[in-house]
């Protein structure tokens, strides 16, 4: 039983390390800011998930007591990596691309990233005298 656990933990450690290395290599190597998002948001997250799973199995097999903390961290990382990727891709869109470079969104709207932040948007209510919250930004 212990030998199977050892093989499984070693395989998970090696796989996690390779995935993390490949993801960071992609971050250093890929040519374009939008393609550079792929490595860290997918491969590195998977690699860290593998390492944390190996840690969970190790503490279950050989450690003092099993615990679910690593699974919590894995879950948190898997939930937050897409959000991070979305935010950074929006930053790239906002800083590097003009509105004419992008395809038009359907319905005649503008991209929210390119919209004027001072203009009233869809989320604002349409009261006429509502200038209290927006004055300080100018």
């Amino acid at each position: 039983m212990a030998i199977f656990g050892e093989i499984l933990i070693s395989a998970l450690l090696v796989l996690g390390g390779v995935f993390g290395l490949v993801g960071s290599w992609g971050l250093a190597r890929l040519p374009d800011p939008m393609t550079r998002l792929h490595g860290p948001t997918k491969a590195v997250t998977l690699g860290v998930g593998g390492v944390l799973l190996a840690s969970l199995l190790w503490f279950a097999c050989f450690g003092a007591a099993a615990s679910w903390h690593e699974l919590l961290i894995t879950l948190f990382l898997f939930l937050t990596a897409p959000v991070t990727g979305l935010m950074i891709s929006k930053v790239n869109m906002h800083l590097r691309w003009r509105e004419g470079d992008l395809p038009r969104p359907p319905g005649g709207n503008r991209w929210a990233t390119c919209a004027d932040p001072a203009a009233p948007g869809l989320m604002d209510d349409d009261r006429a005298g509502d200038s209290t919250g927006r004055e300080h930004r100018e």
Partner: protein
Amino acid sequence: MILYALHFAFACFGLAQIMCLYRVVSGPGVGDRILALDTMTVNMIALIALFGILHDTAMYFEIMMLFAMVGFVGTVAYAKFLLRGDVIE
């Protein structure tokens, strides 16, 4: 066998940290630097997990959790600041 795999994973994530550091220093845009710093946080979580296995201690869970949370909040705050000019609107 686990010890060899552990040291292999240490080397992999150490190299990954160096590559992220290269991208932090030389990244042409701000988005690249934010992404590289976020990746460094995630790699650091893996390194702390490996360190916990190596030293057979469960003391580092909270540190990993704090790294994950603070890294995520910092990345989102920086991206939000660049997008809207304000972190909390």
